[in-house]
Symmetry: C2
Subunit: 221 residues, 2 copies
DNA sequence: TAGATTGTTAATCGATTAACAATC
DNA sequence: TAGATTGTTAATCGATTAACAATC
């Protein structure tokens, strides 16, 4: 089934893509609380968006509300789930089983949503052979062969900075569709590979910039 | 010393704040490689931005380049470092010493940049008393008293979803200036507290959305 | 000097918001 | 029906880019 908005031609703007998971998360909470209906105004208030933005975002994909009523929480949740593609299963591999890699592998947040880590690789001989969340850590030398024999939707990259581009090159030559990059490097990849970055230090530096901005403002009145 | 752009009145746009750390990271690399000069065109090519955008971003804060030459890498790096506020030290605390909290505490990326975790709290009695990166894990009951006696620039929140808002409330009542939130919750805090979110699942869901978008496009030609 | 590249202005593009007819 | 709230259009706002005079 094709979702309405996709046919409109243009790709969905980044801003919208970034907000969809926020809607999904909050709607899940509401459903969990047994709340049946919600209006765009209420959603906006809870999530610090304008009501218009929420309606506009959703209208990329269809008409899910009802005048005078708002949205049915369960229905809308189902729709957003479908829009995000969370009705499917995704095969992931993890490259880099250090502290961060371990934390990601153990992170319970997405296990229930059809994401599974099917293989884990590391270069450290002390880690190779160990179990992590029920998966044996393999030497990274085995990665190339693994990629030939298995389809991977998402490769999680939690390697040190200096290793990440060469790993990305390897992944780029395979049929891996996307990289979830936790390493502090700007990856160069083929056009058809999607990269989503989690840059921890960038995030912290941005925070600190705004912190200092705040201090300036308070100082000046 | 006040940086030029700040006086212009308006706050620096989010987009610019988001790109500054990327410039910083890449310039650090260039300096490390011993490269002396770079033009906005070269920077743009390496980082997938337009040259105009880079010049425009930098011009918020001053004139760091030279016509016909470009930018001196060391100089520009120093300036960006100053703009971000990385010449100062920042006192951090970590709340939640689970897998993710541990990984953050051990993450080497920001240790060298003046960030220090001075206290760690958790609610799990099995963790309390343990050492993590040279710091004893305290029971979260001690947090309130700690906040009265110590100034905290950044509180790192790595708690489960259901605990994070109550922690944020506690932090909001103290003089904590900012929260680096790793929990999958939308925090409500006083106006003067800055929140920077790392929402792992949101990031993954956004990735998956684009992955499916990509598949649609390839299918249709 | 000639070539290169900045910082900035004006033009363009895109995203957000306000407003409202449609209608539950 | 009257009140509420949608989906969408038009207006606004802001961010990006192209172009260029200034100048190293």
């Amino acid at each position: 089934m094709t979702v309405k908005g996709r046919e409109k031609g243009g790709a969905v703007p980044q801003g919208v893509v970034g907000r969809l998971p926020i809607y999904f998360r909050y709607l899940s909470e509401l459903e969990h609380q047994g709340i049946e209906r919600i209006s765009s105004a209420q959603l906006g208030k809870a999530l610090d968006f304008t009501a218009a933005q929420i309606r506009s975002d959703l209208s990329y994909f269809g008409s899910f509300g009802q005048q005078g009523y708002g949205y049915n929480v369960q229905d809308l949740l189902k729709q957003v789930r479908l829009i995000l593609g969370l009705n499917k299963n995704y095969s992931m591999i993890l490259i880099g089983a250090g502290n961060l890699g371990k934390a990601i592998a153990c992170y319970s947040g997405f296990k229930m949503q059809g994401f599974e880590i099917n293989a884990i690789f590391d270069i450290d001989p002390h880690l190779v052979g160990n179990f992590l969340e029920g998966t044996t850590i393999q030497h990274v030398d085995k990665l190339e062969d693994y990629l030939k024999e298995n389809h991977v939707d998402v490769a999680i990259l939690a390697t040190p900075k200096n290793a990440s581009q060469s790993m990305a090159d390897l992944l780029g030559k395979s049929d891996v569709e996307s990289i979830w990059n936790f390493s502090p490097a700007h990856l160069t990849v083929p056009d058809n590979v999607i990269v989503e970055n989690i840059h921890l230090t960038d995030s912290l530096y941005g925070l600190v910039f705004r912190l200092n901005e705040n201090r300036e403002i308070r100082k000046q009145g």
